[in-house]
Amino acid sequence: MAKVPVQFTLNGSEKAEFVEGGTTLLHALRDKIGDTSPKGGCHQGTCGACSVIIDGELRLSCLTLAETCGGADIRTTSGLAEAGVLHPLQRAFLDAFATQCGFCTPGMIMAAKVLLDHTPNPSREDVVEALSGNICRCTGYEPIIQAVLTAARANSQNAA
């Protein structure tokens, strides 16, 4: 079958690829473009490990066809650190021991990132709701919730 061209921005840089029809964005990112930060946990929409931000909204890359992302602005966890300095969320996850095996972490961080982009001072409830599509088998969630709240506080202190 003929391959289809797709073009989008990934963490600010232009990408162009030829994909087979039906290729998921997850597959295109990991196996074509080489950004392995989104993880394939279930390919069913259930675990959230593949979460990415498309045009400012949290999406599941395993259920998104790459072809539908033409012209989109795609953000993944691998684009967060700037000049070797971790993003406040990444820092907070490390400090709070919110990442153990690490498989859920990039998805959790993307979900937390959209939350903080829209709600810089979230309540605990907001955080739980924002992470409700992401499964973690290791941490028991509490350290993750604390990490997001800590990152939010760090952000608002920087802004002040």
Partner: protein
């Protein structure tokens, strides 16, 4: 497996392409791409339309028209759809809600279809490229439907006249044990003057609780007043059994949750 996706600017052209065998419409893809990922080879091609009317929400004179491509997230945050926002927020987690469309929800098999349950209680009209029909007829015939759903229309309820409850084990986003929606009006003496109740997970698709509706007319919303409705709640149901709950369990808890919804 390779899947050919065809994108059309008009609904009419997309609908013509949808007539080919093995072809399905692509909404948000949360069910259809998942099926493809799981190896469902009955889908060989996908069709979608980027017609802007599919993504529009129009509210005019108390009447709402929601395009089939509108997502649950867009409904949940719309300032004039507050009365039904709860039902949209009940669908999946945040990422799913950014993808899941109204059109797709109308086709979602139980335990999914929470928003369709709300639309059924609201007595919505479903518009397809072939014409319009009441949601009941649409749901009954959806398995054989080859027409693209373009929008749903309904009269916006007053917030106090519309109730919605989703019961799930995992909070806050688990899949439904069951969901219930009720559009209910009360007369001056606070007896029930009109009511439509819709149930999710009590059959393979959303259904009306007609027995309970009948029993509620003219009664007062208190423990005694709703007793007959609760006794009739299970009439005509054949709940699904899945990893979330057995049919037996769903049947047992239905009256409990309906009672909470009506008294709450």
């Amino acid at each position: 497996m390779a899947l050919a996706l065809q994108t059309f600017s008009t609904v009419g052209d997309a609908n013509a392409a949808l007539k080919a065998t093995g072809t399905r419409y692509l909404g948000g893809g949360t069910l259809v791409v998942r099926a493809a990922n799981e190896g469902d080879i009955s889908v060989s091609g996908l069709v979608r339309s980027t017609d802007p009317s599919l993504s529009a929400i129009e509210i005019d004179n108390g009447k709402a028209r929601i395009g089939a491509s509108v997502t649950m997230a867009a409904i949940a945050r719309h300032p004039e759809l507050g009365a039904i926002a709860k039902a949209a927020r009940a669908v999946g987690g945040p990422a799913i809600r950014n993808m899941a469309t109204v059109g797709g929800n109308l086709f979602a098999p139980a335990p999914y279809g929470d928003f369709a349950v709300a639309l059924l209680a609201l007595g919505a009209t479903v518009d397809t490229d072939d014409g319009e029909m009441p949601i009941e007829d649409f749901l009954a015939g959806r398995d054989g439907s080859r027409a693209i759903v373009t929008s749903v229309r309904f009269e916006l309820p007053k917030a106090e006249n519309f109730r919605f409850l989703k019961v799930s084990r995992v909070k806050p986003k688990g899949v439904s044990v069951l969901s219930i929606a009720a559009a209910l009006e009360q007369a001056g003496d606070s007896t029930v003057s009109s009511v439509r109740i819709a149930l999710g997970c009590m059959a393979d698709r959303p259904m009306r609780a007609r027995g309970a509706e009948k029993a509620l007319i003219g009664s007062t919303l208190n423990q005694d007043g709703i007793a007959a409705a609760l006794a009739a709640a299970g009439e005509g149901t054949s709940p699904i059994t899945d990893p979330i709950a057995s049919a037996w369990y769903r049947a047992e808890v239905l009256p409990v949750h309906l009672g909470r919804l009506l008294l709450g």
